[in-house]
């Protein structure tokens, strides 16, 4: 999603009203209920959220110049830096060591990288197709990417062929490097 993103894709930036900020926080908590106890730490009441409207209807939400989450359609998607602060709140899958370098190059994740012994998927019923998932890696603490399931986790296990996760955002992509002056 951010493969070719540059500063020139920014159309406008503006502060959001505090009422909108509250709505956004509620929406985040609705999507990820486990964020509820920490949401005021992640986005303090006194902080100012900025909205940055970009090409392709992508909108970034930042606090102090750091992107916390973004959206292209209705759904809010956390940035990796936000995920790292409280990873427990999000549906998570794990790739094996061999898949890491491909993930870091921005590739979609193939099913075998999610089903081998070093990988981890949730037990049935698992996650639905099209869910946004956080991607962790074997023997690593932090998440390295965020993607969207191209098939349900149960299908990934049983079919075990082809692309399982579409890449949205990963360590080292232009969104990761994005800073506002």
């Amino acid at each position: 999603m951010f493969k070719k993103f540059t500063k020139d894709d920014i159309h406008s930036r503006s502060n959001v009203k505090s009422s909108v900020q509250r709505t956004l926080k509620t929406k985040l908590v609705n999507q990820y209920p486990k964020l509820e106890p920490v949401i005021d730490e992640l986005i303090p009441k006194k902080s100012q959220v900025e909205i940055i409207k970009c090409e392709d209807k992508i909108q970034l939400y930042t606090v102090n110049g750091e992107v916390l989450f973004f959206q292209q359609f209705d759904e809010l998607i956390p940035s990796l830096r936000l995920v790292h602060k409280f990873p427990e709140a999000y549906p998570t899958v794990q790739v094996d060591r061999g898949a890491i370098k491909f993930v870091l190059s921005g590739a979609n994740i193939m099913c075998p990288g999610l089903t081998s012994p070093g990988a981890k998927l949730p037990d049935a019923p698992g996650f639905e197709k099209d869910s946004v998932v956080i991607i962790k890696a074997e023997n690593k603490d932090s998440a390295l990417a965020i993607g969207r399931l191209l098939m349900s986790t149960d299908d990934i296990k049983s079919i075990n062929k082809g692309h399982g996760v579409e890449m949205i955002h990963h360590l080292g992509d232009p969104l990761w490097d994005f800073t506002l002056e």
Binding site: R97, K101, D141, S142, D177
Partner: protein, 201 residues
């Protein structure tokens, strides 16, 4: 419940456990050891820093031993990563040397009796988007500006108008921004000559 305190590598910006995939591992390790020795020991063990590269690689290998993808694939992965690292380091050095030894040339030429153009060449090694820079100049000086190939088939930016001094200041600040303030910038002013020379180097 509380938030996790996350350390990001000061060299490659990744969480330190991913430094091995960036091709900058050596520099990353030095940074981590200096800034977060605990984390360093966690990841690489309390190995002796004066040890040779081989020992260093061993230590990484130890950590890799816990992996599930089999020794053969693991060895290949490790080799790939090392190759990547050397390649990247060599390339970085080459590119830096190239940048430092190159020269930016800003040239003023008379087009008609009272009209001038300013041509900038030598920017191609600095990862500058020439088209975008041309656009910036066009709006900054409210004039025509385009990218064209010069006699040596290298890209140059040609600005309509007598803006040599302003361009010079801008190029200096641009290079400074990239940490390249030591790069030579030569200005050639052919304003007073009747026939501008075409020599560029």
């Amino acid at each position: 419940m509380s938030l996790r305190e996350v350390v990001y590598c000061g060299v490659c910006s990744y969480p330190p456990e991913y430094c091995e995939f960036t091709g900058k591992l050596k520099r990353c390790k030095v940074w981590l050891k200096e800034n977060h020795p605990d984390r360093y020991n966690e990841l690489y063990g309390a190995e002796d820093e004066t040890a040779e590269d081989a020992a260093e690689i061993d230590a990484v290998g130890k950590k890799l031993g816990e992996s599930s993808i089999g020794e053969e694939r693991e060895n290949k992965l490790e080799k790939d990563l090392l190759k990547l690292q050397t390649k990247q380091e060599n390339r970085e050095q080459r590119e830096l040397a190239k940048k430092l030894s190159s020269k930016v040339i800003i040239k003023r030429e008379a087009r008609t009796k009272r009209k001038f153009i300013v041509a900038i060449s030598g920017l191609e090694v600095f990862e500058i988007d020439m088209k975008k820079l041309a656009k910036t100049f066009a709006s900054k000086f409210a004039t025509g500006c385009s990218v064209s190939k010069n006699a040596e088939k290298k890209e140059e930016i040609v600005i309509q108008g007598d803006v040599l001094e302003d361009v010079e200041t801008y190029i200096h600040s641009l290079l400074k921004e990239k940490g390249m303030e030591n790069v030579k910038v030569e200005t050639i002013d052919t304003k007073k000559k009747k026939k501008p020379t075409t020599e560029t180097k």
